[in-house]
Symmetry: C2
Subunit: 326 residues, 2 copies
């Protein structure tokens, strides 16, 4: 939750004069997003997001993120689209920060995802992967296998504060993944953070994929693995094969997974679990004393990683290999 930068009505009115979005009616800082300052803005033409990019976002990445949203929307994905200024630029400057106006999509994200939601994310993720095909820009995934050792080094000395033996557990897993991480799998645009709070629904229907600020170019099936971990476990961290089956079946109805992708999925899911485990661990160990933001629990991902370590094949995800390969 965050509004790091306040914006005066006077400055905002000046900024909006460069756009064709109607007259300003109201804007409210939103308690969402940990990287940027976000406002929900009403104008005489409707509702928009106003985002000010704070210093944790690399300026050089903004054209990728904004360009990608526009490209995905143009290629059939239901996602917000940046509103271009009269100059044709999607990125402007407000209150001394890079700033953009983005379509506001109606919808609510599921706090308790059910099987229908899991099918929804499967379909949406596959559509995203297909829609991203041909997008000309690329962005390296700083949080894939190459990025994990620096995180481990930053956190390992204090890992056992969370759970005795966690340091050795992470060390062994990291070494295993570095040795066995797959290559040659289909790559493309991935969302890389499609957790339930980034998928909006109206009723049972997906109304929008949002928050593309981790999007990058990487193994498509790694995105599938991230979602398996994010959507298909219960609040007590037990794996739910019914949800996984709904998710994977919905995905593969839109985009087939190759034999190689299917074979790699359990290892990719271990990597996806380690990635969120490590970033949560670093955040956990670096929360200022007395801060109002409660960091997410790294141990949730220890449980998920242990589960994925035991997966022998897609059957453990509730999917029959043969029919699934279609």
């Amino acid at each position: 939750m965050a509004v790091y930068t306040d914006v005066s009505a006077e400055d905002l009115a000046g900024f909006l004069a460069d756009y064709d979005v109607g007259d300003l009616l109201s804007y409210k800082g939103i308690a969402e997003g940990v990287e940027n300052s976000n406002f929900l803005m009403h104008t005489s033409k409707g509702a928009f997001f106003l985002t000010l990019y704070e210093k944790r976002v690399a300026l050089g990445d903004l054209p990728f993120f904004l360009g990608l949203m526009g490209y995905l929307k143009d290629h059939g994905l239901t996602c917000p689209q940046p509103v271009k200024a009269k100059s044709g630029e999607a990125l402007g400057t407000l209150a001394g920060r890079p700033a953009a106006i983005i379509d506001f999509l109606e919808g609510v994200w599921p706090r308790r995802p059910n099987v229908t939601h899991c099918a929804g994310v499967g379909q949406a993720l596959a559509k995203l992967h297909l829609a991203g095909h041909g997008f000309a820009m690329t962005r390296r995934n700083a949080l894939s296998v190459d990025g994990w050792r620096p995180l481990f080094d930053a956190a390992s000395s204090r890992a056992d504060e969370l759970q005795p033996g966690l340091r050795d557990f992470l060390s062994a897993e990291l070494a295993h993944l570095e040795r066995h991480w797959p290559s040659g799998l289909p790559e493309g645009v991935i969302h890389a953070d499609l957790f339930p709070d980034n998928l909006l629904f109206l009723g049972d229907k997906v109304s929008g994929v949002i928050d593309f600020y981790f999007a990058c170019t990487d193994i498509l099936a790694y995105d599938v693995a991230i979602c398996l971990n994010a959507w298909c476990f219960e609040p007590d961290h037990a794996f739910n094969a019914t949800k996984a089956r709904a998710f994977l079946n919905a995905y593969t109805r839109e985009r087939k997974l190759s034999e190689a992708e299917q074979a790699a999925l359990p290892l990719l899911a271990r990597g996806a679990a380690l990635r969120f485990l490590l970033t949560r661990l670093v955040d956990w160990l670096n929360v200022p004393r007395g801060a109002m933001v409660k960091p997410k629990d790294p141990l949730e991902y220890v449980r998920k990683l242990r589960f994925q370590q035991g997966v022998k094949g897609l059957g453990d995800y509730g999917v029959e290999h043969a029919s699934f390969a279609g």
Copy 2:
């Protein structure tokens, strides 16, 4: 800025079934309000505020606040109105908290109030005082003269950390105000916190008075004094007589100030300055280390209090006594 309680879409949909506000389209936690959890909600019938009352708000006060908003709106003030459930009740329960749905008013609050804004607040405040006439409920002002000594006692031992001599300064001022606080002045419903962030404008016109959670029954001219301090000083804390004149003239066009009220205004303004000085001081001394919320500067109100101590009469506010009495 605050969202203390998250609400699931499922729980919210259940809550909304008791109201006639249309179908839920979206809801976003708002980074506003330090006492409650606030959401801006879109439904098929429009935009609403959803407020969950957290434990710092006394439950027993909620009927006063909600009843007052409805009464003021019915009596011509432009302010949000609670939406009643089908049962007729304005107060419900959501996520284990008392909760209410309130009209969302379009408008923006002025970060840099100008003379026109000051006239706007003068007119709006007088209209509020007139509209509140006849409201049957009362609420004691816990932050008037009787409430200051406990605040002083809580903070005085560390006051000199902020400014050498502050403790003695506060002690003398408090004693003076306790001895000379006026009685017999016209009383009624006051807003008690009508700072710029609680008054919305569309262009130059007031579009709404908001945030009635400090409203109470007290001396009407004390509300005038609070606004004098809140609106009529520059960012460098210098008094701006042009703004004060615009404010006071706009107020008195709607509601005359009696001779006694005029005579008491400088003393009431000292009290109003001390009230915000003391609450800010307590907050300042009690901020948790590392908290993300920056408390407001108590020293701003030391400057304002010193100014008010030097005021001899309304002439110092830029207003001619005779013509002003009208």
